[in-house]
Symmetry: C2
Subunit: 146 residues, 2 copies
Amino acid sequence: MFNKETEYALRGLVYIQLQNFDGKRPGIAEIAEQIDAPHFYTAKILQRLVRQGFVESQKGKGGGFYFDNKKPELSLKELIIATEGDKLFCGCGFGLKQCDENNPCPLHDKYALIRNALNKLVTEENVQSLAQKTMKGEEMLSPRLK
Amino acid sequence: MFNKETEYALRGLVYIQLQNFDGKRPGIAEIAEQIDAPHFYTAKILQRLVRQGFVESQKGKGGGFYFDNKKPELSLKELIIATEGDKLFCGCGFGLKQCDENNPCPLHDKYALIRNALNKLVTEENVQSLAQKTMKGEEMLSPRLK
DNA sequence: ATAATAAAAGACAAAAAGGTCTTTTATTAT
DNA sequence: ATAATAAAAGACCTTTTTGTCTTTTATTAT
């Protein structure tokens, strides 16, 4: 469904938030290892997210990544649109440039229902809500990490 | 959602079925033009589908592509799995190798609902049912083609 | 038989996605 | 001040996806 970049970004950010809850600011090496993602690629992805203002970072000793509590929660939709665009949320299942109720592809009616459900999911859920689930329950960020 | 290969395969096969209903067997050039897809790439994709037995072809004068009426209808699920694998139907939204009810990622519960709905859609719908919709109604295969 | 036709096969290439690594810059504890 | 630390920047590479084109093979109408 999502591409690798989105998957690593999702897992990475949730891990950062999870550590933040605990008063810690994890570094790249720790993050990549814990979410089972390629070290340098994860670094590159997080750098982009920092530049876009989705997450903050601190250089130097004791540095790492963290969320600015003054900023609103980061919805999955914002994040996904930033990493892979909005095709998933607006695009036609058949790949038509123009496809809507008035000019539907043969898949439109049923596909639109699923697309709407997906929209709802990524609008409602955010990095913080997912981190909370991981903290409270059995949810996990990698096969190794509880 | 789907990759280009899947999109072209879907549109191409529905167009073939649509023409078959009309007693015709369209050739590559016609198909590619009508579904607004790259000529040679469409050819390559259809060749693969022929080799896999999803659709039939006839070389030489008067040749073209057609469906074998003796074969069962071609579900979208079979087709999609052939073109891009089953990640969409089994994979974890977070990209975890192992993620299920017992060992869920933080997105699992809500994501599984959507994945199931998608499964239902592609299991119920098939190339023939989509072609019928296109024939009867306002559904279209390309912005140009009704 | 022959010519015309149309798919099959496969080489090739551009673009995008995914990934690695080194160097630079900023920060901070000492 | 300095050394250690950690992110930022950016060059570079590999693989996959997407796309193009030429040559070959099969079929059929004549």
